[in-house]
């Protein structure tokens, strides 16, 4: 019989802390705006009530959260007033990730995130906020045993196998640094800072600020503002670099029987386990900057939710890897995928469409700006041939490859993405052609895999080729059974 357990009490602290973080900013705004200059103790009543409620709610939800498992299912009960009981069969579990935050480390516990199959993101996952290491190990062992019994795939299951196998892939310190420097995370930080400032909008007297800015601007102060902007951008970039270095520090990929185990992180150690059977595809990203150094990024498309903290279904297998090593690493992890395919290029008549496509939406704004800022604005016109040149690069990069059991699509230039998908993992294929495409006998291929909304596409493939890919999935039964 299963015993019901509570989380380690540190879960109370982290839970209340998370809730407080959410209510703190609105509360601050309420207090500052509500007091209207003359501050009295009455203004604190509402915030104090909210604080007290948050803390009590946090404690109660810890008290009311129990979990337990037997040899087949994991059961979680939660909810202070409305009880929600969830039963998760072990064989439905898609993957597990383990995180050690600072609080968890202090208490000697870990946070466990369990992904299950399901269409609704958020509904299909369970987080155990603070569980001791031994317990996680026992849970993982029980899950694996249940799965093996169900699949009967590993009859020679001896304990020796459970020891850490040598890593298939690691990052050197230099590579961690390079990965951080060349990541696009800087833009993410800028966005976050912007979101933060707009949240503070009620507090900061922007109007007064803008008036000053305008005065400085008019008073030959463009340089100041330019320099301030540049410094802010560089600072954001610096923060992103540090974040990424922390994230990818001591990165290692191991294969343990039928699971790919990825461990990474400094301050916050994270372990992501992905069963090979749940991998839906392999993606290789090459941003133009990394391509210059001969590097690429490899990620797995994974059926569950956001195991890795990134977008749903995306698990980074190699943050940065020399292009020539990709094939052997992926082959070691996922022998079913064949990365050494020859790509069919797009037909010559698609080239002009790739050149013109960026111009459709660039033309009017660029011409307008060039006219308004004449005569020097005419320099902007150089953007147009540049865009066309990028179009040609995109045309050259795009392509597709087909084998009896695998479809590969490649597109993009700034960030070239190659997606490898097995036939039996494809959920549907769409071929579409606009009136213009039909006139040139071209079409767009788009292939969808799990999770919801993940698809790869290539624009302006030869119409006959697109039809061939479509029929390839259609003819599935005839050549597989």
């Amino acid at each position: 019989m299963m015993t019901k357990r509570r989380l380690h009490p540190v879960a109370m602290v982290t839970g209340v802390g998370r809730e407080l973080k959410n209510v703190l900013l609105p509360l601050l705004v309420v207090v500052v705006a509500g007091s209207g200059g003359d501050f009295s103790w009455r203004d604190l009543v509402v915030p104090l009530l909210v604080l007290a409620y948050t803390i009590v709610a946090g404690i109660l939800s810890w008290v009311r959260f129990t979990y337990g498992w037997d040899d087949q299912t994991l059961q979680v009960e939660e909810g202070v007033f409305v009880r929600k009981k969830r039963t998760i069969p072990f064989e439905r579990i898609q993957g597990i990730s383990i995180t050690e935050g600072i609080w968890q480390r202090l208490a000697g516990v870990v946070k466990v995130h369990i992904e299950t199959a399901g269409n609704v993101p958020g509904e299909a996952e369970v987080t155990l906020a603070a569980v001791s290491r031994e317990e996680v190990r026992r849970l993982q062992r029980d899950i694996e045993q249940a799965k093996e019994q169900a699949e009967e795939s590993n009859p020679w299951n001896d304990q020796e196998k459970r020891l850490l196998s040598p890593p298939l892939f690691t990052l050197s310190v230099k590579e961690v640094w390079l990965a951080a420097v060349t990541s696009g995370g800087a833009f993410g930080v800028v966005a976050a800072v912007w979101a933060f400032l707009s949240q503070l909008g009620d507090l900061i007297p922007y109007e007064a600020l803008f008036r000053n800015v305008q005065a400085t601007w008019n008073g030959h102060g463009r340089w100041y503002i330019g320099i301030i902007g540049l410094v802010a951008l560089l600072a954001a970039y610096g923060v992103a670099i540090v974040q990424n270095m922390i994230r990818f520090a001591s990165f290692a990929v191991r294969k343990q029987e039928d699971t790919i185990v990825i461990t990474r992180g400094w301050l916050e150690r994270k372990t992501v386990s992905v069963p090979i059977g749940r991998v839906q595809g392999v993606m290789i990203h090459e941003s133009w900057l990394r391509r210059l150094f001969g590097y690429a990024t490899v990620s797995l498309i994974h059926a569950g939710g956001a195991l890795d903290g990134g977008p749903p279904g995306d698990v980074v297998l190699c943050p940065l890897v020399k292009k020539e090593r990709v094939s052997s690493i992926v082959h070691a992890c996922l022998p079913e995928y064949d990365l050494d395919v020859t790509f069919h290029p797009l037909p010559e008549r698609a080239k002009i469409r790739y050149m013109l496509r960026p111009l459709y939406w660039l033309m009017v704004p660029v011409l307008l700006a060039a006219y308004i800022e004449r005569p020097w604005g005419a320099g902007l016109l150089l953007v147009l041939p540049l865009a066309a040149w990028i179009g040609v690069r995109r045309y050259r990069a795009a392509g597709w490859a087909l084998s009896s059991r695998q479809l590969t699509l490649r597109s993009g230039w700034f960030r070239q993405t190659t997606t490898y998908m097995l036939k039996r993992r494809l959920q549907s294929i769409e071929v579409s052609a606009t009136w213009w495409q039909k006139r040139k006998r071209l079409a767009t291929i788009s292939a969808a895999v799990m999770p919801l909304g993940t698809s790869a596409r290539v624009v302006d493939v030869d119409g006959q080729d697109a039809a061939a890919v479509y029929r390839w999935l259609q003819a599935e039964r005839k050549d597989e059974t």
Partner: protein
């Protein structure tokens, strides 16, 4: 290139889409009216209003007069034991292929307009995508839903 094949959807779809088009046009008429009223307070030249109304009239013709019959004509579907094929689109034609063993569940849906004309839509879910066949006659939709559910189950069993 892929050919045009499959069964058409109900012709009453045109009427339903025209009705929806009327609603959409009325709603956008409200928006256009609001903009016109707002602009008129700033003494803008009259021809701006003419342009606005012109855009609105074109939209009305498109949504009520022109698009519904074309959409109905272009929409084709074909359901066989092993796969579902859907083809649709006026400006851009899309051919969709869903192998039967990928289907997770099927819904029959009916809005007020569809119900009024005895029509229903079939919505097909896979683990990664959602596909709709709109405006089928009620018995046809029921039949398709049952067939797909049945075939998807069989295909699943063969797959294991």
């Amino acid at each position: 290139m892929l050919r045009n094949s499959g069964k058409p959807i109900s012709e009453k779809a045109i009427t339903v889409w025209r009705l929806t088009g009327v609603l959409v046009t009325l709603a956008s008429g409200g928006v256009v009216g609001g903009i016109a009223w707002f602009l008129s307070r700033f003494h803008v030249p009259k021809w701006w209003l003419v342009v606005l109304v012109g855009i609105w009239v074109v939209e009305a013709i498109l949504w009520v007069g022109w698009l519904p019959p074309l959409r109905q004509k272009r929409w084709r579907y074909d359901i066989r034991e092993e796969e579902i094929e859907i083809q649709h689109g006026v400006w851009s034609t899309t051919w969709t292929l869903v192998p039967m063993n990928r289907v997770q569940h099927v819904d029959v849906r009916q809005g007020p307009f569809l119900k009024r004309y005895g029509l229903a839509s079939v919505v097909i879910f896979t683990a990664a995508t959602v596909h709709e066949i709109p405006a089928l006659s009620e018995p046809e939709a029921e039949k398709l839903c049952r067939l797909i559910a049945e075939w998807a189950k069989v295909a699943d069993r063969n797959d294991d």
